[in-house]
């Protein structure tokens, strides 16, 4: 049972403010993902949470206990490191047991705990091997076992899947979600991969330049991005965003206060022929490239607005040449000059805005 509270946290490295006045609450028992591009401050937050680094300002509370001045080992947390940080000279058993032995837990109890955990993560046959004899997935499991055996209040996972190959990564993702369900402990997970964030977290915290951009459930982040950064960061390919001037003569008039307009690639559609649908803009476009991924097709097209990505789930149209791209007006995301989303300025309400783009 542990809720984590960051209260006005800042971190400065040699005059460089990498974390700026962050306040947030990580709910007890949640699977919270900190996601953002490299250098956004997510690892620093994690390391401050673990106690490896000390915040320049602000307080950290774990389970209503102020932990600012507690050494890492006293915070009742366990961590899975990006490169696993397995002790290379110890066996799997030694790795899992090390923390218990340091806490002077009796040998018998230790052995029982180790065997129990090894059973859960499926390492029982490998207890006497050294880490360099294990596969990537097995090492990952040792790292998990080593964290679990301490029965911590909080699990901290620092990009734990980044060293695995694609197939194993997907598998471990599911396993981690199941593990979280089984343990019911608070998970704080750091990644730069938005797909991982979306698929695993029940709460996502998007960070950029040391500040929280948005904190919400994955589906919320996707549907209602709070600002341009969140909008562009989540989704693959990213949201197509253009300046209001690009829509001149297409969406008229663009409401006052809207500076940028974006739409998700999967909300537009591509067809061979024009088919005037109400409340939808239609643009004659040129196909630049086309990636066929089986279930879906990604187009890169050029039209009056600019170059954009379209993600289509229907069978691909011709490889190149002309096509028509239609985007329902209700799917547009307007943003103000401050790059904050302006959902109240809904474009679809303006009937007179419907116009057919003529390529």
């Amino acid at each position: 049972m542990a809720e984590i509270r960051l209260d006005n946290i800042s971190k400065t490295f040699n005059e460089d403010r990498v974390v700026k006045n962050i306040s947030l609450t990580i709910k007890d028992g949640s699977f919270t993902v900190l996601v953002g591009p490299s250098g956004c401050g997510k690892s620093t937050i994690l390391r401050m949470l673990a106690g490896f680094e000390k915040q320049t300002e602000g307080d950290i509370w774990i389970d209503d206990k102020l932990v600012n001045d507690l050494a890492p080992s006293k915070r009742d947390i366990a961590m899975v490191f990006q490169n696993y940080a397995l002790y290379p000279t110890m066996t799997v058993k030694g790795n899992i047991e090390f923390g218990l032995a340091n806490r002077k837990i009796p040998k018998k109890e230790r052995r029982q705990l180790v065997e129990e955990i090894a059973e859960i993560v499926g390492l029982s046959d490998h207890l006497n091997k050294k880490p360099d004899k294990l596969s990537g997935g097995q090492r990952q499991r040792v790292a998990l076992a080593r964290a679990m055996v301490k029965k911590p209040k909080v699990f901290i996972l620092d990009e734990p899947l980044s060293n695995l190959d694609a197939k194993l990564r997907t598998q471990m993702r599911t396993e981690l979600i199941q593990l979280h369900k089984k343990l019911g402990t608070t998970f704080v997970y750091v990644t730069h991969d938005q797909v991982e964030a979306m698929s695993m977290g029940d709460e996502i915290i998007i960070l950029n330049k040391g500040m929280v951009q948005q904190k919400a459930a994955p589906i919320d982040v996707y549907q209602n991005p709070r600002n341009l950064f969140a909008a562009e960061f989540i989704g693959q390919p990213p949201m197509n965003v253009f300046d209001r001037t690009a829509y001149e003569g297409i969406v008229e008039p663009v409401p006052e206060g809207v500076r940028y307009i974006g739409f998700r690639p999967e909300h537009a559609s591509v067809s061979r022929t024009a088919a005037s649908i109400p409340h939808t803009i239609e643009l004659e476009s040129e196909i630049l490239t086309l990636e066929t991924l089986g279930a879906e097709t990604i187009y890169k097209v050029k039209n009056r607005i600019g170059v954009m990505n379209i993600r289509s789930f229907s069978a691909p149209v011709a490889k190149d040449g002309c096509c028509f791209v239609s985007i329902p007006l209700e799917k547009f995301y307007p943003f103000g000059a401050d790059k904050i989303a302006k959902p109240e300025l809904d474009l679809s309400m303006k009937k007179e805005a419907v116009l057919n783009g003529i390529g």
């Binding site: 680094e53 600012n68 001045d69 050494a71 006293k74």
Partner: protein
């Protein structure tokens, strides 16, 4: 890492007793202090003391050390015997390093192959390097014995007359250089071989695809890639040769007629046989300057990266 320590230090300060803080703060110093103490007592302080003594006249037993300014240095530099020492040191160093490195490079190119025979030979030529200089010196004294020595016997076999290796001023320094080269080759060769083996094979494969002739491959790939090793061995060789003592002390005692007297032996003689401490210290200061210059050159060049890696 710094911050880790810092945070832990702070943590312990407020949450636990005051004494713990000071311990985390002091711990690094406690950990380096035994080593630093030894350095100060046996390296740093003696250097300072030597510089101090070099400006004084002292015979080791008298209770007072008389300050005489730079007199020791002016006397040294005008002294014919000391000039001989400097010349000897330079000759010894130049030829020892030049021959050792040259021969070692050739041997490395020759012996850098797989197979039991080659690794056995590599070990054989290395064995003098780990043999005590006492044994090396005495063994070669015996081999170079003018009357019953093995070397003269071998020369006689091929029709060359016996040579008074260690007893003639014409040959003594040469003989010492020969011994130094014999002892040093193994180490240098193996370092060169290590250097050769660190050159990526694909460089040679690329050159072969370009139809580069072997000698060009040697000049354009091997030599540049080996240059850091060559540089390192040269500087280390020079620094070590300037300090030669054991072979001189055991084999020639600086003679005959001062022909093999070099720096360290000269300091030893003046310090321990003639008890002119200030004077010997002044000679030591000059050696210190020479070695410092070499060391500075070494690091200057190193930081400029002659490396091609």
């Amino acid at each position: 890492m710094a911050l880790v320590k810092d945070s832990m230090g702070m943590g312990e300060r407020r949450s636990t007793s005051q004494s713990l803080v000071s311990w985390t703060r002091l711990r690094p110093y406690a950990m380096i202090s035994p080593a630093i103490l030894v350095f100060c007592l046996f390296f740093i302080y003696p250097i300072g003391y030597m510089v101090y003594l070099s400006f004084h006249d002292w015979n080791f037993v008298s209770p007072t050390k008389e300050f005489i300014g730079t007199a020791n240095f002016t006397y040294l530099l005008s002294n014919l015997e000391f000039r001989e020492v400097i010349v000897n040191s330079f000759i010894y160093t130049f030829f020892t390093v030049f021959l050792t490195i040259g021969i070692s490079l050739l041997l490395a190119l020759w012996l850098n192959r797989g197979g039991a025979i080659y690794s056995f030979l590599q070990a054989s030529i290395f064995s003098p390097h780990i043999t005590s200089l006492v044994s090396v010196s005495m063994l070669w004294m015996w081999i170079m014995d003018a009357d019953y020595g093995l070397l003269n016997w071998a020369l006689n076999l091929i029709g060359i007359e016996s040579i008074p290796w260690l007893t003639s001023p014409d040959y003594a320094l040469t003989s010492l250089i020969m011994v130094a080269v014999w002892k040093g080759i193994g180490f240098n060769t193996l370092v060169f071989i290590a250097g050769l083996q660190s050159i990526p094979k694909d460089l040679y494969e690329a050159a072969e695809l370009d139809h580069t002739p072997p000698w060009r491959r040697f000049l354009r790939i091997t030599v540049p890639m080996l240059s850091p090793t060559l540089f390192f061995l040269t500087i280390i060789g020079i620094i070590n040769s300037f300090q030669v003592f054991e072979t001189i002390n055991l084999m020639t005692e600086g003679g005959p007629i001062n022909s093999t007297n070099t720096f360290v032996y000269y300091i030893y003689q003046y310090g321990f046989q003639f008890f002119k401490i200030g004077y010997a210290s002044a000679a030591g200061v000059i050696l210190l300057v020479i070695l410092s210059v070499l060391t500075v050159i070494y690091f200057k060049v190193l930081s400029k990266k002659v490396h091609y890696r």
